[in-house]
Amino acid sequence: MRERKQGWGQEMLERQKSLYLVFWLLVLIGLAPFVVPAFIIRPFRYQSPGALHLALVFRQIAPIGTVLAACGVLGLALGAWRSTARKQRALLILGSLLVIGSATMARMNYFEWMFHPVEMPGFQKADDAKLDAGEMVLTVSIHGDARAYPVREMAYHHIVNDVVGGVPIAATY
């Protein structure tokens, strides 16, 4: 009787262990689609074609991948909650928060936190623009419609979606 009970306890322990292993593995899987591209696509660093491709593959699967992993992680955490000692529960919470954070970040465009986009480009007449004569502007003229995009503004926003002379264009800098 006693022996059997011990064997059963051992089995439970093993099961618990492998559950934790799966838990942390899922946490890693949930983190990778956010962390790997963020690490590869750092400014002022060299991006090899292979690394860039990997980063973009991760970015592609990130929106769905991170949510699936987060669901798995949360499910496991809930399932293991009762049989987990109080101290270990903190780890379950930590893992859950990490994947939730990753799933959230996968939906953010942090490049646009650094450089706000121009939602609705506004324009002023050349005479009204407060620019020095020597300031550089990107210019385009289509079907008689002439536009100038001050480089100083473009160096911050980088992209302006516009329609000039009826033609949709993207001014980029």
């Binding site: 002022f44 004569a133 980088h158």
Partner: protein, 230 residues
């Protein structure tokens, strides 16, 4: 400056990443990733497609205003106005570069005008253009012309050929204003590449997209580029 349509589809771009200090953009419609300098789709649904260049210039405001008095200027975005750096060029010069290409006299952050004609790429240091303007050169087997404007800053590039005849232009030395004369000495030309007097009056040289870029960036995306020197 790109036309943002592929086939019948109009795209809206947003900033989405960086590739060796040249930015990547995505379009809202398909999520495809595009390289800013080449206009090529490098990843995603539209991979392999390329955007068409919109004819553009990089000019000083004063010069542009004279040429296009009725033109419109992008207004500053109120909430971001403080972040526009007036000294951004000096700031950028201090930044590190992710790739470098020794072996030429150029430094990584030297500004060049990059031209591609019939697949042949060449970089023209802006300093050289301003000093030597106008520059006559041959690229991709065609005659080309680079000129700096009267402001000593604005640069334009042209195919210097009209109706299958090569046109050679020189700086008119006795003129204070910016005037070019052709080799026959019979016609004067302006900075827009148009003949304003002589038998070719009203004719304009076809413009070439002159991309201003840092040497390292131009070289990184144009492996076979040569560098103009004379």
């Amino acid at each position: 400056m790109w036309k943002r349509s592929v086939g019948d589809r109009v795209l809206h771009f947003y900033l989405a990443g960086i590739n060796n200090q040249n930015f990547l953009m995505r379009d809202r419609e398909t999520g495809t990733w595009w390289q800013q300098i080449s206009g090529k789709a490098i990843f995603g649904k539209l991979k392999g497609q390329a955007l068409e260049l919109a004819p553009f210039d990089e000019l000083s405001f004063g010069l542009w205003k004279k040429e296009s008095p009725g033109g419109q200027v992008l207004a500053p975005v109120a909430r971001d106005q403080k972040k526009y750096e007036s000294k951004w060029e000096d700031e950028v010069l201090k930044l590190p570069v992710p790739v470098s290409f020794p072996g030429t006299a150029l430094k990584s952050r030297d500004v060049v005008v990059g031209l591609v004609v019939d697949g042949e790429a060449r970089a023209y240091p802006v300093e050289t253009i301003v000093k030597q303007s106008p520059i006559q050169d041959r690229l991709g087997g065609r005659p080309i012309l680079l000129v700096a404007g009267a402001d000593g800053k604005s640069v334009r590039a042209f195919l210097s050929r009209i109706d299958d005849t090569d046109v050679e232009l020189f700086r008119k030395s006795d003129s204070k204003d910016f005037v070019l004369i052709d080799s026959e000495g019979s016609g004067e030309w302006n900075f827009q590449g148009c003949a304003v007097s002589g038998p070719l009056t009203g004719k304009c040289l076809p413009g070439l997209p002159a991309i201003k870029d840092y040497w390292f960036d131009w070289r990184n995306y144009h492996v076979d580029t040569t560098v103009y020197r004379r």
